[in-house]
Amino acid sequence: MSAGVFEMDSWLERLPITARDLLTGYLPDPWRWIAQSVIAIVVILGVFGTLFAFLTLAERKILGRIQNRPGPNRVGWAGILQPFADAIKMLTKEDIVPRTADPVLHYLAPVALVSFSLLSLAVIPYGRHLVPLDLDSGVLYFFAASASSELSVFMAGWAGRNKYALLAAMRALAQLISYELPLLLSVVPVVMIAGTLSPSGIVAAQSGWRIGIIPHWNIVTPWGFAGFAIFMVAALAEANRSPFDLPEAESELIAGHLTEYSGFKYALFFMAEYFAMIALSGMAVTLFLGGWQAPFEVLQFIPSYAWFAIKLLALLLGFIWIRATLPRLRIDQLMRLAWKFMVPLALINLVTVAFWHLSAGWATGAQPLRWALALALVAVPFVLIGRRLTSGLAPRIYRYAAP
Protein backbone atom coordinates (compact mmCIF):
# COMPACT_ATOMS: atom_id res chain seq x y z
CA MET A 1 0.00 0.00 0.00
CA SER A 2 1.13 3.53 -0.59
CA ALA A 3 2.23 5.78 2.23
CA GLY A 4 -0.72 8.07 1.57
CA VAL A 5 -3.13 5.51 2.97
CA PHE A 6 -1.46 5.66 6.35
CA GLU A 7 -1.28 9.40 6.44
CA MET A 8 -2.84 10.63 9.69
CA ASP A 9 -4.32 13.76 8.19
CA SER A 10 -6.06 12.60 5.06
CA TRP A 11 -8.48 14.95 3.29
CA LEU A 12 -11.35 12.84 4.61
CA GLU A 13 -10.10 13.36 8.16
CA ARG A 14 -9.95 17.11 7.65
CA LEU A 15 -13.24 17.28 5.73
CA PRO A 16 -15.41 18.72 8.55
CA ILE A 17 -12.76 21.33 9.41
CA THR A 18 -12.32 22.25 5.75
CA ALA A 19 -16.06 22.65 5.35
CA ARG A 20 -16.22 24.84 8.46
CA ASP A 21 -13.33 27.01 7.29
CA LEU A 22 -14.95 27.41 3.87
CA LEU A 23 -18.08 28.69 5.57
CA THR A 24 -16.41 31.02 8.07
CA GLY A 25 -13.01 31.80 6.55
CA TYR A 26 -13.97 35.19 5.13
CA LEU A 27 -15.21 36.58 8.47
CA PRO A 28 -13.08 38.94 10.61
CA ASP A 29 -11.56 37.45 13.74
CA PRO A 30 -14.05 37.74 16.65
CA TRP A 31 -16.95 36.99 14.32
CA ARG A 32 -15.23 33.93 12.91
CA TRP A 33 -14.85 32.52 16.42
CA ILE A 34 -18.52 33.16 17.17
CA ALA A 35 -19.59 31.67 13.84
CA GLN A 36 -17.48 28.58 14.41
CA SER A 37 -19.00 28.10 17.86
CA VAL A 38 -22.50 28.50 16.45
CA ILE A 39 -21.72 25.95 13.75
CA ALA A 40 -20.43 23.52 16.38
CA ILE A 41 -23.62 23.97 18.42
CA VAL A 42 -25.87 23.56 15.38
CA VAL A 43 -24.02 20.44 14.26
CA ILE A 44 -24.23 18.88 17.74
CA LEU A 45 -27.94 19.66 17.96
CA GLY A 46 -28.59 18.37 14.45
CA VAL A 47 -26.53 15.20 14.64
CA PHE A 48 -27.63 14.16 18.10
CA GLY A 49 -31.21 15.24 17.53
CA THR A 50 -31.35 12.97 14.50
CA LEU A 51 -29.52 10.23 16.37
CA PHE A 52 -32.08 10.54 19.18
CA ALA A 53 -34.97 10.24 16.71
CA PHE A 54 -33.61 7.16 15.02
CA LEU A 55 -32.36 5.66 18.27
CA THR A 56 -35.96 5.56 19.53
CA LEU A 57 -36.95 3.83 16.29
CA ALA A 58 -34.01 1.41 16.49
CA GLU A 59 -34.86 0.65 20.09
CA ARG A 60 -38.47 -0.15 19.24
CA LYS A 61 -37.51 -2.21 16.21
CA ILE A 62 -34.82 -4.17 18.04
CA LEU A 63 -37.00 -4.70 21.11
CA GLY A 64 -39.68 -5.93 18.73
CA ARG A 65 -37.31 -8.37 17.02
CA ILE A 66 -36.05 -9.68 20.35
CA GLN A 67 -39.65 -10.19 21.50
CA ASN A 68 -40.56 -11.85 18.19
CA ARG A 69 -42.79 -9.10 16.82
CA PRO A 70 -42.18 -6.66 13.94
CA GLY A 71 -42.13 -3.37 15.86
CA PRO A 72 -43.38 -0.12 14.25
CA ASN A 73 -43.71 -0.77 10.51
CA ARG A 74 -46.54 1.44 9.26
CA VAL A 75 -45.13 4.95 8.77
CA GLY A 76 -42.91 5.20 5.73
CA TRP A 77 -40.87 2.31 4.40
CA ALA A 78 -40.76 -0.35 7.18
CA GLY A 79 -41.51 2.31 9.79
CA ILE A 80 -38.54 4.51 8.98
CA LEU A 81 -40.58 7.72 9.40
CA GLN A 82 -42.05 6.69 12.76
CA PRO A 83 -39.94 9.17 14.81
CA PHE A 84 -41.32 12.10 12.79
CA ALA A 85 -44.87 10.91 13.26
CA ASP A 86 -44.15 10.67 16.99
CA ALA A 87 -42.68 14.16 17.01
CA ILE A 88 -45.76 15.63 15.33
CA LYS A 89 -47.98 13.79 17.78
CA MET A 90 -46.01 15.04 20.77
CA LEU A 91 -45.94 18.62 19.50
CA THR A 92 -49.66 18.80 18.91
CA LYS A 93 -50.77 17.09 22.12
CA GLU A 94 -52.38 19.12 24.85
CA ASP A 95 -50.01 20.27 27.57
CA ILE A 96 -51.73 19.64 30.88
CA VAL A 97 -50.54 21.42 34.03
CA PRO A 98 -52.34 20.29 37.20
CA ARG A 99 -54.21 23.08 38.99
CA THR A 100 -52.28 22.58 42.23
CA ALA A 101 -48.93 22.27 40.50
CA ASP A 102 -46.09 24.71 40.91
CA PRO A 103 -46.26 26.16 37.38
CA VAL A 104 -42.75 27.65 37.23
CA LEU A 105 -40.98 24.50 38.40
CA HIS A 106 -43.28 22.34 36.31
CA TYR A 107 -42.17 24.27 33.25
CA LEU A 108 -38.53 24.58 34.27
CA ALA A 109 -37.82 20.91 35.02
CA PRO A 110 -37.85 19.46 31.46
CA VAL A 111 -36.12 22.52 29.99
CA ALA A 112 -33.33 22.39 32.58
CA LEU A 113 -32.93 18.65 32.12
CA VAL A 114 -32.51 18.88 28.34
CA SER A 115 -30.13 21.81 28.54
CA PHE A 116 -27.95 20.13 31.16
CA SER A 117 -27.76 16.91 29.19
CA LEU A 118 -26.87 18.84 26.04
CA LEU A 119 -24.12 20.69 27.92
CA SER A 120 -22.29 17.46 28.60
CA LEU A 121 -22.08 16.67 24.87
CA ALA A 122 -19.79 19.66 24.33
CA VAL A 123 -16.53 18.28 25.71
CA ILE A 124 -16.44 14.86 24.06
CA PRO A 125 -13.72 14.57 21.39
CA TYR A 126 -15.61 13.20 18.39
CA GLY A 127 -12.57 13.02 16.13
CA ARG A 128 -8.97 14.06 15.74
CA HIS A 129 -10.03 17.58 14.81
CA LEU A 130 -13.57 17.48 16.17
CA VAL A 131 -13.47 18.68 19.76
CA PRO A 132 -16.23 21.25 20.21
CA LEU A 133 -14.83 22.52 23.52
CA ASP A 134 -11.31 21.50 24.49
CA LEU A 135 -11.25 22.15 28.22
CA ASP A 136 -8.31 21.49 30.48
CA SER A 137 -10.66 20.00 33.07
CA GLY A 138 -13.22 18.62 30.61
CA VAL A 139 -13.92 15.39 32.48
CA LEU A 140 -14.88 17.38 35.56
CA TYR A 141 -17.08 19.63 33.42
CA PHE A 142 -18.82 16.58 31.97
CA PHE A 143 -19.77 15.22 35.37
CA ALA A 144 -20.67 18.65 36.74
CA ALA A 145 -23.11 19.07 33.86
CA SER A 146 -24.66 15.64 34.24
CA ALA A 147 -24.89 15.86 38.04
CA SER A 148 -27.16 18.84 37.70
CA SER A 149 -29.78 16.68 36.00
CA GLU A 150 -30.68 15.26 39.42
CA LEU A 151 -31.99 18.66 40.32
CA SER A 152 -34.36 18.62 37.36
CA VAL A 153 -35.65 15.19 38.30
CA PHE A 154 -36.42 16.49 41.76
CA MET A 155 -38.13 19.59 40.35
CA ALA A 156 -40.26 17.40 38.09
CA GLY A 157 -41.33 15.18 40.95
CA TRP A 158 -42.04 18.04 43.30
CA ALA A 159 -43.78 20.42 40.92
CA GLY A 160 -46.65 18.11 40.01
CA ARG A 161 -48.06 17.92 43.57
CA ASN A 162 -48.56 14.22 43.09
CA LYS A 163 -47.50 11.77 45.77
CA TYR A 164 -46.45 9.11 43.27
CA ALA A 165 -44.37 11.61 41.37
CA LEU A 166 -42.71 12.78 44.58
CA LEU A 167 -42.03 9.25 45.79
CA ALA A 168 -40.57 8.38 42.41
CA ALA A 169 -38.44 11.51 42.45
CA MET A 170 -37.04 10.47 45.84
CA ARG A 171 -36.27 7.05 44.46
CA ALA A 172 -34.66 8.54 41.41
CA LEU A 173 -32.51 10.81 43.54
CA ALA A 174 -31.43 7.98 45.82
CA GLN A 175 -30.50 5.96 42.76
CA LEU A 176 -28.70 8.79 40.97
CA ILE A 177 -26.67 9.73 44.06
CA SER A 178 -25.77 6.10 44.81
CA TYR A 179 -24.53 5.41 41.31
CA GLU A 180 -22.79 8.76 40.92
CA LEU A 181 -20.16 7.45 43.31
CA PRO A 182 -19.04 4.31 41.40
CA LEU A 183 -19.35 6.28 38.15
CA LEU A 184 -16.90 8.92 39.34
CA LEU A 185 -14.65 6.41 41.09
CA SER A 186 -14.36 4.35 37.91
CA VAL A 187 -13.17 7.45 36.04
CA VAL A 188 -10.42 8.28 38.53
CA PRO A 189 -8.08 5.44 37.38
CA VAL A 190 -8.20 6.74 33.81
CA VAL A 191 -7.32 10.23 34.98
CA MET A 192 -4.51 8.80 37.14
CA ILE A 193 -2.95 6.91 34.24
CA ALA A 194 -3.40 9.65 31.64
CA GLY A 195 -2.29 12.35 34.09
CA THR A 196 -4.83 14.80 32.72
CA LEU A 197 -8.49 15.77 33.07
CA SER A 198 -8.76 16.82 29.45
CA PRO A 199 -10.76 14.34 27.29
CA SER A 200 -8.53 14.89 24.26
CA GLY A 201 -5.48 14.30 26.46
CA ILE A 202 -7.00 11.03 27.67
CA VAL A 203 -7.61 9.93 24.08
CA ALA A 204 -4.05 10.88 23.13
CA ALA A 205 -2.75 8.81 26.06
CA GLN A 206 -4.44 5.74 24.56
CA SER A 207 -2.73 5.97 21.16
CA GLY A 208 -0.29 3.37 19.87
CA TRP A 209 -0.24 -0.41 19.91
CA ARG A 210 1.20 -2.97 22.32
CA ILE A 211 3.33 -5.59 20.46
CA GLY A 212 2.05 -4.06 17.25
CA ILE A 213 -1.54 -5.34 17.39
CA ILE A 214 -3.17 -4.78 20.78
CA PRO A 215 -4.29 -1.14 20.99
CA HIS A 216 -3.23 0.92 23.98
CA TRP A 217 -6.85 1.41 24.99
CA ASN A 218 -7.64 1.42 28.66
CA ILE A 219 -10.10 -1.43 28.32
CA VAL A 220 -7.36 -3.95 27.48
CA THR A 221 -5.74 -3.50 30.89
CA PRO A 222 -7.09 -5.29 33.99
CA TRP A 223 -8.02 -2.08 35.80
CA GLY A 224 -9.44 -0.61 32.61
CA PHE A 225 -11.70 -3.58 32.05
CA ALA A 226 -12.98 -3.42 35.63
CA GLY A 227 -13.38 0.33 35.34
CA PHE A 228 -15.29 0.01 32.08
CA ALA A 229 -17.64 -2.58 33.57
CA ILE A 230 -18.32 -0.41 36.63
CA PHE A 231 -18.72 2.68 34.46
CA MET A 232 -21.23 1.02 32.16
CA VAL A 233 -23.35 -0.42 34.99
CA ALA A 234 -23.35 2.95 36.72
CA ALA A 235 -24.13 4.66 33.41
CA LEU A 236 -27.15 2.38 32.98
CA ALA A 237 -28.37 3.52 36.37
CA GLU A 238 -27.56 7.18 35.75
CA ALA A 239 -29.47 7.16 32.47
CA ASN A 240 -32.48 5.50 34.19
CA ARG A 241 -32.22 2.61 31.79
CA SER A 242 -33.44 -0.90 32.39
CA PRO A 243 -32.65 -2.85 34.60
CA PHE A 244 -32.32 0.30 36.73
CA ASP A 245 -35.44 2.08 35.49
CA LEU A 246 -37.10 2.03 38.90
CA PRO A 247 -37.90 5.74 38.89
CA GLU A 248 -40.29 4.99 36.04
CA ALA A 249 -41.44 1.56 37.15
CA GLU A 250 -44.93 1.51 35.63
CA SER A 251 -46.12 -1.30 37.83
CA GLU A 252 -45.26 0.55 41.04
CA LEU A 253 -45.18 4.27 40.44
CA ILE A 254 -47.29 4.94 37.34
CA ALA A 255 -44.82 6.93 35.25
CA GLY A 256 -42.58 8.05 38.07
CA HIS A 257 -41.62 11.69 38.15
CA LEU A 258 -43.18 12.06 34.71
CA THR A 259 -46.68 11.25 36.00
CA GLU A 260 -47.97 14.82 35.73
CA TYR A 261 -46.33 15.54 32.40
CA SER A 262 -47.89 15.34 28.98
CA GLY A 263 -47.29 16.42 25.44
CA PHE A 264 -44.03 18.03 24.48
CA LYS A 265 -42.70 18.33 28.04
CA TYR A 266 -42.97 14.55 28.35
CA ALA A 267 -41.10 14.22 25.06
CA LEU A 268 -38.39 16.54 26.40
CA PHE A 269 -37.79 14.17 29.31
CA PHE A 270 -37.33 11.31 26.92
CA MET A 271 -35.05 13.40 24.77
CA ALA A 272 -32.92 14.24 27.80
CA GLU A 273 -32.77 10.58 28.80
CA TYR A 274 -31.46 9.60 25.38
CA PHE A 275 -29.03 12.52 25.31
CA ALA A 276 -27.71 11.42 28.70
CA MET A 277 -27.33 7.88 27.38
CA ILE A 278 -25.48 9.14 24.30
CA ALA A 279 -23.25 11.43 26.37
CA LEU A 280 -22.36 8.70 28.87
CA SER A 281 -21.63 6.25 26.05
CA GLY A 282 -19.49 8.88 24.36
CA MET A 283 -17.61 9.40 27.61
CA ALA A 284 -17.14 5.63 27.97
CA VAL A 285 -15.70 5.52 24.46
CA THR A 286 -13.39 8.41 25.27
CA LEU A 287 -12.23 7.06 28.61
CA PHE A 288 -11.91 3.34 27.96
CA LEU A 289 -12.28 2.49 24.27
CA GLY A 290 -9.56 4.76 22.93
CA GLY A 291 -11.87 7.56 21.80
CA TRP A 292 -11.58 8.12 18.07
CA GLN A 293 -8.52 5.88 17.67
CA ALA A 294 -8.62 3.06 15.15
CA PRO A 295 -8.30 -0.44 16.60
CA PHE A 296 -5.65 -1.54 14.06
CA GLU A 297 -2.90 0.41 12.43
CA VAL A 298 -3.97 -0.63 8.91
CA LEU A 299 -7.48 0.71 9.52
CA GLN A 300 -6.28 4.25 10.16
CA PHE A 301 -7.38 5.36 6.69
CA ILE A 302 -10.95 5.35 8.00
CA PRO A 303 -11.48 8.82 9.49
CA SER A 304 -11.42 9.13 13.25
CA TYR A 305 -14.98 10.41 13.58
CA ALA A 306 -16.22 7.26 11.84
CA TRP A 307 -14.45 5.15 14.46
CA PHE A 308 -16.00 7.20 17.20
CA ALA A 309 -19.45 6.76 15.65
CA ILE A 310 -18.98 2.99 15.32
CA LYS A 311 -17.94 2.61 18.96
CA LEU A 312 -20.72 4.91 20.16
CA LEU A 313 -23.39 3.02 18.21
CA ALA A 314 -22.06 -0.31 19.48
CA LEU A 315 -22.42 0.87 23.08
CA LEU A 316 -25.91 2.26 22.42
CA LEU A 317 -27.00 -1.02 20.88
CA GLY A 318 -25.61 -2.71 23.99
CA PHE A 319 -27.89 -0.49 26.09
CA ILE A 320 -30.90 -1.57 24.02
CA TRP A 321 -29.92 -5.23 24.18
CA ILE A 322 -29.61 -5.05 27.97
CA ARG A 323 -33.04 -3.44 28.18
CA ALA A 324 -34.55 -6.30 26.22
CA THR A 325 -32.81 -8.96 28.29
CA LEU A 326 -32.72 -8.07 31.96
CA PRO A 327 -35.63 -7.73 34.39
CA ARG A 328 -35.94 -4.72 36.67
CA LEU A 329 -34.23 -4.73 40.08
CA ARG A 330 -35.98 -4.14 43.39
CA ILE A 331 -35.10 -0.88 45.16
CA ASP A 332 -33.22 -2.54 48.05
CA GLN A 333 -31.29 -4.73 45.60
CA LEU A 334 -30.41 -1.63 43.64
CA MET A 335 -29.03 0.13 46.70
CA ARG A 336 -27.21 -2.95 47.89
CA LEU A 337 -25.57 -3.39 44.50
CA ALA A 338 -24.37 0.20 44.51
CA TRP A 339 -23.07 0.53 48.05
CA LYS A 340 -21.94 -2.97 48.95
CA PHE A 341 -20.66 -4.16 45.59
CA MET A 342 -19.81 -1.44 43.12
CA VAL A 343 -18.36 1.19 45.45
CA PRO A 344 -15.93 -1.29 47.13
CA LEU A 345 -14.91 -2.68 43.75
CA ALA A 346 -14.35 0.82 42.40
CA LEU A 347 -12.23 1.68 45.45
CA ILE A 348 -10.17 -1.50 45.05
CA ASN A 349 -9.73 -0.58 41.40
CA LEU A 350 -7.90 2.53 42.58
CA VAL A 351 -5.37 0.26 44.31
CA THR A 352 -5.07 -1.82 41.14
CA VAL A 353 -4.36 1.21 39.01
CA ALA A 354 -1.84 2.52 41.53
CA PHE A 355 -0.03 -0.82 41.30
CA TRP A 356 -0.24 -0.70 37.50
CA HIS A 357 1.18 2.81 37.46
CA LEU A 358 4.07 1.96 39.82
CA SER A 359 4.93 -1.27 38.01
CA ALA A 360 5.06 0.42 34.59
CA GLY A 361 8.85 0.24 34.57
CA TRP A 362 9.10 -3.52 35.14
CA ALA A 363 11.28 -5.50 32.73
CA THR A 364 9.72 -7.29 29.76
CA GLY A 365 10.22 -10.64 31.49
CA ALA A 366 8.24 -9.48 34.52
CA GLN A 367 5.31 -8.25 32.44
CA PRO A 368 3.28 -11.49 32.70
CA LEU A 369 3.68 -11.30 36.49
CA ARG A 370 2.48 -7.70 36.41
CA TRP A 371 -0.58 -8.70 34.40
CA ALA A 372 -1.29 -11.67 36.65
CA LEU A 373 -1.05 -9.57 39.82
CA ALA A 374 -3.29 -6.85 38.41
CA LEU A 375 -5.82 -9.41 37.19
CA ALA A 376 -5.83 -11.02 40.63
CA LEU A 377 -6.40 -7.60 42.21
CA VAL A 378 -9.48 -7.24 40.02
CA ALA A 379 -10.86 -10.78 40.07
CA VAL A 380 -10.33 -11.88 43.69
CA PRO A 381 -12.28 -9.01 45.33
CA PHE A 382 -15.00 -9.42 42.70
CA VAL A 383 -15.49 -13.08 43.57
CA LEU A 384 -15.11 -12.59 47.33
CA ILE A 385 -17.49 -9.64 47.65
CA GLY A 386 -19.97 -11.25 45.28
CA ARG A 387 -19.95 -14.48 47.32
CA ARG A 388 -20.31 -12.60 50.58
CA LEU A 389 -23.27 -10.65 49.29
CA THR A 390 -25.13 -13.75 48.13
CA SER A 391 -24.17 -16.03 51.04
CA GLY A 392 -26.98 -17.12 53.31
CA LEU A 393 -29.50 -16.90 50.51
CA ALA A 394 -31.19 -20.13 49.65
CA PRO A 395 -31.38 -21.09 45.99
CA ARG A 396 -34.28 -19.40 44.29
CA ILE A 397 -37.55 -21.27 44.47
CA TYR A 398 -39.63 -21.12 41.34
CA ARG A 399 -43.20 -21.37 42.54
CA TYR A 400 -44.98 -20.55 39.34
CA ALA A 401 -42.44 -20.68 36.56
CA ALA A 402 -40.65 -23.76 35.38
CA PRO A 403 -36.94 -23.51 36.32
Binding site: S148, L166, L197, T390
Partner: protein, 170 residues
Amino acid sequence: MNLTLLLLGLVILASSAMALSLRNIVRSVLLLVLSWFGIAAFYLWAGAEFAAFAQALVYGGAVSMVVLFAVLLTGRSHSDAEVPPPPKGRLVWALVAGGAAAGIIAATAIRTPFAAATNGVPSLPVRDLGLLLMGPQLAALLVTGALLTAALLGAVVIAAGTKDDKEGAP
Protein backbone atom coordinates in the same frame (compact mmCIF):
# COMPACT_ATOMS: atom_id res chain seq x y z
CA MET B 1 -16.15 42.24 31.33
CA ASN B 2 -17.44 44.27 34.25
CA LEU B 3 -20.98 44.04 32.97
CA THR B 4 -20.75 40.24 33.25
CA LEU B 5 -19.49 40.56 36.81
CA LEU B 6 -22.31 42.93 37.64
CA LEU B 7 -24.92 40.56 36.20
CA LEU B 8 -23.40 37.59 38.03
CA GLY B 9 -23.36 39.49 41.30
CA LEU B 10 -26.95 40.50 40.76
CA VAL B 11 -28.02 36.89 40.10
CA ILE B 12 -26.11 35.56 43.13
CA LEU B 13 -27.33 38.23 45.54
CA ALA B 14 -30.91 38.35 44.26
CA SER B 15 -31.34 34.58 44.37
CA SER B 16 -29.91 34.30 47.87
CA ALA B 17 -32.03 37.22 49.08
CA MET B 18 -35.12 35.61 47.60
CA ALA B 19 -34.13 32.26 49.11
CA LEU B 20 -34.08 33.95 52.51
CA SER B 21 -37.37 35.77 52.09
CA LEU B 22 -39.51 33.03 50.48
CA ARG B 23 -41.69 31.03 52.84
CA ASN B 24 -41.78 27.89 50.68
CA ILE B 25 -38.72 25.94 51.77
CA VAL B 26 -38.33 23.88 48.60
CA ARG B 27 -38.31 27.00 46.45
CA SER B 28 -35.78 28.50 48.84
CA VAL B 29 -33.49 25.51 48.36
CA LEU B 30 -33.78 25.72 44.58
CA LEU B 31 -32.98 29.43 44.65
CA LEU B 32 -30.00 28.70 46.88
CA VAL B 33 -28.83 26.19 44.27
CA LEU B 34 -29.19 28.93 41.66
CA SER B 35 -26.93 31.19 43.70
CA TRP B 36 -24.37 28.36 44.01
CA PHE B 37 -24.41 28.00 40.25
CA GLY B 38 -23.96 31.76 40.07
CA ILE B 39 -20.84 31.44 42.22
CA ALA B 40 -19.60 28.69 39.88
CA ALA B 41 -20.18 31.05 36.96
CA PHE B 42 -18.23 33.71 38.84
CA TYR B 43 -15.27 31.34 39.21
CA LEU B 44 -15.52 30.64 35.50
CA TRP B 45 -15.50 34.37 34.82
CA ALA B 46 -12.45 34.73 37.03
CA GLY B 47 -10.59 32.06 35.04
CA ALA B 48 -10.69 29.40 37.76
CA GLU B 49 -12.09 26.64 35.54
CA PHE B 50 -11.36 23.77 37.91
CA ALA B 51 -12.87 25.51 40.93
CA ALA B 52 -15.94 26.41 38.88
CA PHE B 53 -16.63 22.85 37.77
CA ALA B 54 -15.87 21.50 41.24
CA GLN B 55 -18.33 24.05 42.67
CA ALA B 56 -21.02 23.02 40.19
CA LEU B 57 -20.38 19.31 40.79
CA VAL B 58 -20.19 19.44 44.58
CA TYR B 59 -22.76 22.13 45.35
CA GLY B 60 -25.10 21.80 42.37
CA GLY B 61 -24.95 18.01 42.29
CA ALA B 62 -24.30 16.75 45.80
CA VAL B 63 -24.97 19.36 48.49
CA SER B 64 -28.26 20.42 46.89
CA MET B 65 -29.41 16.79 46.98
CA VAL B 66 -28.47 16.45 50.65
CA VAL B 67 -30.43 19.60 51.48
CA LEU B 68 -33.46 18.49 49.44
CA PHE B 69 -33.41 15.05 51.01
CA ALA B 70 -33.29 16.57 54.47
CA VAL B 71 -36.24 18.82 53.61
CA LEU B 72 -38.34 16.02 52.15
CA LEU B 73 -37.54 13.44 54.83
CA THR B 74 -38.39 15.77 57.70
CA GLY B 75 -41.58 17.27 56.23
CA ARG B 76 -44.75 15.29 56.82
CA SER B 77 -46.87 16.72 54.02
CA HIS B 78 -46.81 19.18 51.20
CA SER B 79 -48.16 21.94 53.41
CA ASP B 80 -45.15 21.55 55.72
CA ALA B 81 -43.06 23.15 53.03
CA GLU B 82 -44.57 26.49 54.00
CA VAL B 83 -42.70 27.90 56.97
CA PRO B 84 -44.33 30.60 59.11
CA PRO B 85 -42.42 33.90 59.27
CA PRO B 86 -39.95 34.08 62.18
CA PRO B 87 -40.69 36.22 65.26
CA LYS B 88 -39.47 39.84 65.24
CA GLY B 89 -36.85 39.34 67.95
CA ARG B 90 -35.12 36.55 66.12
CA LEU B 91 -35.10 38.63 62.95
CA VAL B 92 -33.33 41.49 64.73
CA TRP B 93 -30.69 39.20 66.22
CA ALA B 94 -30.15 37.49 62.86
CA LEU B 95 -29.61 40.88 61.23
CA VAL B 96 -27.17 41.90 63.99
CA ALA B 97 -25.18 38.65 63.76
CA GLY B 98 -25.17 38.67 59.96
CA GLY B 99 -24.19 42.32 59.87
CA ALA B 100 -21.33 41.72 62.29
CA ALA B 101 -19.99 38.82 60.23
CA ALA B 102 -20.34 40.83 57.01
CA GLY B 103 -18.57 43.78 58.67
CA ILE B 104 -15.63 41.65 59.80
CA ILE B 105 -15.25 40.11 56.36
CA ALA B 106 -15.59 43.46 54.62
CA ALA B 107 -13.04 45.10 56.95
CA THR B 108 -10.54 42.30 56.33
CA ALA B 109 -11.12 42.41 52.60
CA ILE B 110 -10.63 46.16 52.44
CA ARG B 111 -7.44 46.11 54.53
CA THR B 112 -5.80 43.22 52.67
CA PRO B 113 -3.37 44.53 50.05
CA PHE B 114 -4.22 42.57 46.91
CA ALA B 115 -1.64 42.20 44.15
CA ALA B 116 -2.43 44.43 41.19
CA ALA B 117 -4.37 42.66 38.46
CA THR B 118 -2.14 41.22 35.78
CA ASN B 119 -2.86 41.53 32.10
CA GLY B 120 -5.39 39.01 30.88
CA VAL B 121 -7.10 36.25 32.84
CA PRO B 122 -4.59 34.21 34.86
CA SER B 123 -5.03 30.50 34.32
CA LEU B 124 -3.68 27.61 36.31
CA PRO B 125 -3.67 24.21 34.59
CA VAL B 126 -5.16 21.32 36.52
CA ARG B 127 -1.77 19.62 36.62
CA ASP B 128 -0.19 22.56 38.45
CA LEU B 129 -3.16 22.71 40.78
CA GLY B 130 -2.71 19.02 41.62
CA LEU B 131 1.04 19.45 42.18
CA LEU B 132 0.33 22.40 44.45
CA LEU B 133 -2.23 20.42 46.45
CA MET B 134 0.01 17.36 46.74
CA GLY B 135 3.14 19.38 47.54
CA PRO B 136 3.05 22.56 49.63
CA GLN B 137 -0.62 22.27 50.61
CA LEU B 138 -0.58 18.57 51.50
CA ALA B 139 -1.11 19.15 55.23
CA ALA B 140 -4.24 21.22 54.64
CA LEU B 141 -5.58 18.60 52.22
CA LEU B 142 -4.97 15.79 54.73
CA VAL B 143 -6.61 17.70 57.57
CA THR B 144 -9.67 18.40 55.42
CA GLY B 145 -9.83 14.78 54.33
CA ALA B 146 -9.57 13.51 57.91
CA LEU B 147 -12.28 15.93 59.01
CA LEU B 148 -14.65 14.83 56.25
CA THR B 149 -13.96 11.15 56.93
CA ALA B 150 -14.68 11.67 60.61
CA ALA B 151 -17.96 13.39 59.73
CA LEU B 152 -18.86 10.56 57.36
CA LEU B 153 -18.11 7.90 59.98
CA GLY B 154 -20.15 9.82 62.52
CA ALA B 155 -23.08 9.96 60.13
CA VAL B 156 -22.81 6.22 59.46
CA VAL B 157 -22.74 5.47 63.20
CA ILE B 158 -25.85 7.60 63.77
CA ALA B 159 -27.67 6.15 60.78
CA ALA B 160 -26.78 2.50 61.48
CA GLY B 161 -28.76 2.38 64.72
CA THR B 162 -31.59 0.32 63.24
CA LYS B 163 -31.60 -3.45 62.91
CA ASP B 164 -29.98 -5.09 59.91
CA ASP B 165 -32.44 -6.84 57.60
CA LYS B 166 -31.09 -9.67 55.50
CA GLU B 167 -33.74 -10.29 52.85
CA GLY B 168 -32.89 -10.07 49.20
CA ALA B 169 -29.54 -9.51 47.60
CA PRO B 170 -28.48 -8.48 44.14
